[in-house]
Structure formats: structure tokens, C-alpha cells
């Protein structure tokens, strides 16, 4: 029963959505809207579950004094601070439990949540992602090394696209006569993006769509049951 009822629920919710797409009349249209709304609400609780799991795992590491356990205190403190500020005074124009917090916002220049977002979350997130600019150089060396015809294609395209999107490319290829203007780097980049790249992206999209349809049917029909987490 613990696995049959969930399978039946997955089947019913999936079929209702599918049928509603083909019969956009009462009551199916209403069912689709209701289920989509429910999905959104349940997903939010799933986010809550994820955050609880984060707290649990951090608390476990601290209590077990795992390697680098002291840094996990920082995770909990920053999580707690951002959450409490958000709940008490809200974010952007949304009020929190204590209202808009005009007074504290006047002193800080922004709501406490937005202050932390602007001066801690944003710099941390963009610096973290910008770190990849350095590591991508070593990845590029491995990817671009002349080995096969295919890797050369990747190398040449990447270089053309990178150069083609800069003003340097215009200077570099401005000597090419107008009759051969399509060989200028910016125009070559546009051509690559518009045609060969589109073709490959379409091939990926069409193939992936077939995969998604197959996987979805397996889930709805109860053939794929791994989401139930074992046979207990």
C-alpha cells in the first residue's frame, strides 16, 4: 500500500494534466489549474524540506566535531540572520512580521535582508562564479589542444565566437573587402550562431524532447518508481 497508492496518485495527477491539455473544457481545465497551483505550493514545502536538511546536516557536523566543523557554525549563523531579517522586516516592498521596518531601513540604507543581499550575497555569488574564469583557462587548454578534427572544430568556433563578440574583431577583420563581408569575424559569429549552432541545438532539443516524453510516460504509467526511494 505504501508504494501502490503513491503510484496511483502519480498516475491520476499525470493523466488529469494530459487529458486537460486535450479537453480544455470544464471540469478538466479547472483540474489542470488546480493541480498546477497545488504543485507550486507542495514544491515550496519541498524547498522548506531542503533547508531543514541543510540545518540538520550542519548541526550533525558540528555535534560530531567533523573536520572543519567550526565553519559550519558560520553557515547556520548566516542562514539564521538572513532568515530572521527576512521574516521580521520583509524583502524589497514586501512587509515582514514587524512591517516595513522604515526606521531600521533609514539607518541601514535598505531593509536588513536587502542590505545582506546587496553587500554579502551578491558579491559572494558573483565572485564565486567569476572564479570559473580562471579555471576555464585550464579546461580550455585541455579542450582546445589539437588532437582530432572535432576538437579543432570546437577550438576554431570558440575562438571565432569569443573574438567576434568584441570590438577587437571589427578592427582585426575590417580589411576584408565588402564583397567578402561575410568572412568578417562579427558576421561569421552571427552566421555560426544563426545556422550551425541552431541546427545542433535543434537536434539536441528534439532528441531530448523524445527522451522526456519517454521518461514521463514511464513515470505516469508506474514503470519508473525510483522516486519512491526503494521497495520498503
Amino acid at each position: 500500500m505504501k508504494s501502490k497508492i503513491p503510484q496511483f496518485l502519480a498516475f491520476i495527477s499525470g493523466v488529469v494534466i494530459l487529458v486537460a491539455a486535450f479537453i480544455p473544457h470544464t471540469p478538466f481545465g479547472m483540474f489542470e489549474e488546480t493541480l498546477t497551483n497545488w504543485f507550486m505550493i507542495i514544491s515550496s514545502f519541498a524547498i522548506l524540506l531542503g533547508q531543514s536538511s541543510l540545518i540538520q546536516s550542519n548541526l550533525a557536523k558540528i555535534s560530531q566535531k567533523a573536520p572543519d566543523w567550526k565553519y559550519h557554525i558560520a553557515t547556520l549563523v548566516s542562514f539564521g540572520a538572513m532568515l530572521i531579517f527576512g521574516l521580521l522586516w520583509g524583502m524589497e516592498n514586501t512587509p515582514g512580521i514587524l512591517g516595513q521596518g522604515e526606521k531600521i531601513a533609514e539607518n541601514l540604507g535598505a531593509k536588513p535582508f536587502d542590505y545582506l543581499f546587496e553587500y554579502a550575497f551578491m558579491p559572494l555569488s558573483s565572485t564565486m562564479f567569476s572564479l570559473l574564469a580562471f579555471y576555464i583557462a585550464s579546461a580550455a587548454y585541455r579542450a582546445f589542444i589539437f588532437k582530432t578534427f572535432e576538437s579543432n572544430l570546437l577550438l576554431i568556433t570558440a575562438v571565432i565566437v569569443m573574438l567576434g563578440r568584441t570590438s577587437f574583431a571589427t578592427v582585426l577583420t575590417s580589411w576584408i573587402p565588402d564583397s567578402l563581408h561575410f568572412l568578417r569575424l562579427p558576421e561569421l559569429t552571427d552566421f555560426i550562431m544563426q545556422y550551425p549552432n541552431t541546427a545542433a541545438q535543434r537536434a539536441i532539443l528534439i532528441s531530448a524532447a523524445l527522451g522526456v516524453v519517454g521518461a514521463s510516460l514511464r513515470i505516469i504509467l508506474g514503470i519508473e518508481r525510483s522516486y519512491l526511494g526503494g521497495d520498503k
Binding site: 496518485l9 502519480a10 547556520l76 527576512g86 545582506l116 559572494l124 555560426i192 535543434r202 537536434a203 520498503k232
Partner: protein, 212 residues
Amino acid sequence: MAELMKTIGIWLSAYFTLSIFSFLYKDNPFYKLAEQIFVGLSAAYWLVYTIYNILIPNLFNKLFTDFANNWILLIPMVLGIMMLMRMFPKLEWVSRYPMAIMIGTTAAIAMLLSFQSDFLSQIAATIVNPFKFSSPVDIVGTILIIIGTICGIYFFYFSKKPEGFYKIPSKVGIWFLMVSFGASFGYTVMARISLLIGRLDFLLRDWLHIIK
């Protein structure tokens, strides 16, 4: 006061920026601390965002202001609470019911969207007469799209081993895919470099005032 807090905020941002960049030398306590703070802040940010943008307007506001017309929302709320039972090993099975509804709904929505926008629309956009265009670049480009799409799809056909003549379209498919991956790689590099420029600009302009 606000001006002072802004200055403190800029110094805080600079500290976090330099702490993350310190990883380029090697893993160190400054990086570890900044990394863990980032994890905590981003988890809390998404939680608060979810509460204010999904749970309050779609659930709690409706239940508290007009319960008679929205009592049906108690069902997803109960299902959501059942989802949280996953935290307790003995009651873990309870979370399977909301999970099943979520998975079933997601599968059906994904199936419909993929079929409509990624399958039918993409095929329709590919089947065009290349000779209706007047520019030779457009004609060649459209022919390339048709060949590239068909060969690319053929590359993903794994039910038969490509041998002999059948190896040719598969090979051509790989070439198109490599061109596309090269383009994506180029764009990714540019996006990351632009983020890096943004951080350096912050350090030199807002923090150190070297750039005016």
C-alpha cells in the same frame, strides 16, 4: 548613519570578494568561511523568497482572508506538511504521497511542454524551403540547418550501431554538435570574464576609488 553603513557594506563586500579570490592561491580559512556563509545566505534567501512569493500569496493569504472559497487549499497544505515528514525516518513513507503528486504533475507538464515546444515546433521551424530566400547566405544557412538537425538527431539514435554508410550522417552530426559546443564554450568564457571584470571594477572603483 546610512552613509556609514554603506561604507561598512562595501568593506564587507570587498572582504568577501578577496576571500573567494584567495582560493586561487590554495584552499584556506578565509575561503572556507566565505563559502559557508554563501551557502547559509543563499539557502535563507531562497527560503524567504519562497515564503513571500509563493506560500503567502498562493496559500496563507487566501486561507486567512477567504477560507470559505479556498478551503480546498488545505489539501496541498497538508500534502506539503506530509512532505516534511521525510525528516523523520519512521514517517518517511508519508512523504511519498505528495512526492507522487509532484512527480506525476511534473512529468505530465514536462511531457506536454517538451512535445509542443521542443519537438513539434522545432521540426516545423526546420522544414522550410531554403530556396525561398534571396540571399545566398540565408540559402546556405537554411540548408545547413536542415542537414545539421537531421544528422544531429541521427547521432542520438543509439538503437543501431552506425557502420559503413550509416556512419557518415552520424559523423556530420558530431561536427555540428562540436561547433555548437564551441559556441557555447565561447559564450560561457565571455560570461565568466564579464563577471570577473565586474568584481575587479567593484574593487578598483567602489572600494579603492582607483578608477573614477
